[in-house]
């Protein structure tokens, strides 16, 4: 596929009269690693839900692999890791069962998993370094390990575009390291594209192709990380740098008003 795997054109969405997203256009090319950042309330999550087809935009258009989200037949091409506050400890599911659930988009939800599906599930577990924990209950893992299990769940379908919503919020350093390895492996070895929504880009700052900064429902910046760094923003030296800058962005606008 030569065209963008994800494309949004002049997208708008609102809750009631309030516009949460206003005229957003962006695209992600095959094999591209893009980060979407912005202060709280900038419209990132709403934009993400529109891009995934979970919300219907009031105006504009979204295309996933060249078609509107509702018309995408091979859903396995799109992987999604939602934001989560942590699983209940009593959830009686093993890591392998959780990751196996991610394979259904590829194998067919009503079919039994075949040997080749189990090979891919194992591969996904290896890529996030959880193979040795495959038989453990997912509720017994640390927050970072749980998040890696859910990344492996998305990887199990071998997606061509992986969308992640705040995947490393509050996770330990080892998990951040594993997280970076699994994403760079996906991009470099499988030519998949990644769209990452996060406040903390430190773990992947050196691997990004583009950063999109949202502010008040609009795209404030869209370009290579080097251009953003040139404007005085540090993406990776300290994990607080980017959130502080994003907060400053909001304050400056409030002052201007």
């Amino acid at each position: 596929m030569n065209g963008p795997v994800l494309e949004a054109e002049d997208l708008a969405f609102g809750y009631g009269a309030e516009r949460v997203i206003d005229g957003v256009s962006l695209s992600v090319a095959p094999g591209e690693f893009v980060a979407l950042v912005g202060p709280n309330g900038s419209g990132k999550s709403t934009l993400l839900r529109c891009l995934l087809g979970l919300l219907k935009p009031a105006a504009g258009a979204v295309r996933l692999f060249g078609v509107p989200p509702a018309e995408l037949k091979d859903r396995w091409r799109l992987g999604y890791v939602p934001q989560r506050a942590g699983l209940a400890r009593e959830l009686p599911a093993t890591v392998e069962e959780v990751v196996g659930a991610g394979r259904l988009a590829r194998s067919g939800w009503y079919r039994r998993l075949r040997p080749e599906d189990h090979v891919e599930i194992e591969h996904a577990l290896s890529s996030v370094a959880l193979l040795e924990h495959r038989r453990r209950r997912v509720g017994e893992l640390s927050g970072g390990q749980q998040q890696r299990a859910f990344i492996a769940k998305a990887l199990a379908a071998q997606p061509e575009l992986l969308v992640l919503d705040e995947p490393v919020a509050g996770v330990d350093a080892e998990s951040q390291h594993r997280f970076r390895e699994s994403l760079t492996h996906l991009v470099s070895q499988h030519s998949a594209a990644v769209l990452l929504v996060s406040h903390e880009l430190g773990a992947v700052a050196d691997d990004l192709d583009r950063v999109v900064v949202m502010r008040r429902g609009r795209v404030y910046f869209d370009g290579p990380p080097a251009d953003l760094v040139a404007s005085g923003v540090s993406l990776g030296v300290h994990h607080e740098d980017l959130p502080l800058w994003l907060e400053g962005l909001m304050r400056r606008e409030d002052d201007q008003e």
Binding site: L78, Y80, P82, P92, A93, T94, A101, W109, R137
Partner: protein
Amino acid sequence: MIAALPLPYPFDRTYMQLALVASVAVGAAAPLIGAFLVQKRLSLMGDGIGHLAFAGVSAGLVLGVWPVAAALVVAVIGAVGIERLRSAGRASGDVALALFFYSGIAAGVVVVGASGGLDASVLSYLFGSVLTVTPADAWTVVVLGLAIVAVLAVVGRALFAVVLDEESARVAGLPVEALNTLLSALAAVAIVGAMRVVGLLLVAALMVLPVATAQLVAGSFRATVAVAMAVGVAASVVGLAVARVWALPPGGTIVLVAAAAFAATSVVAGRRSHRGGTALAHQEHV
């Protein structure tokens, strides 16, 4: 008249053998549905649908229609309604349940009252009457149970993915609404199947207690389902036997045996985890 099979006491009589068949079918099928409902935080779904089924039973008795069929129709429609209300976000899961829960029991009371009041046949559905099941009743329960097992053998994996995370399942193209509706309809089928065994007032217990017990010891979702079904069947058999030996109401006895199984497992699992925790603390200290 059917001749009794040569089974030992307390299952030596035909009526006990019919009760055993119906109880085992319910003991296996109810926790199978419950395994999904408990993970979705809809443990009281069985209660809500049970109250709707009461309205169906009442209507059936008044109209001269087979009460099981009337209960099945009302319970399935109500269960689908609860799911639609919940998924459309017009009411949270517990409010949607409460709405149908109280409407169902109120409709049942009004219909029965208008037709001349409560009698033994209504009470047998409310509190169960497994010792009076006919061969046709027993076969109906077995067929409903097998239907539940067959459907979940096909859609179980997809339902597990929905239970795990509805939003991801939706993005992955799984038919989330259809699967949730199907689960609700299957719960209604299980409840109607179970109402003669434990009664509509206790039916949810057989969906929840065996699953709660299994969760304490099982290491995976697959094992949880298997252990819950085994606990459900064991509680049904033991409860039925105890009820015969001490002349107790079978429905309530089955549920009390399931509750005792949970309490005993909870104590054993708690001791084991305490011992594990102490050993771990000792290791860390060393």
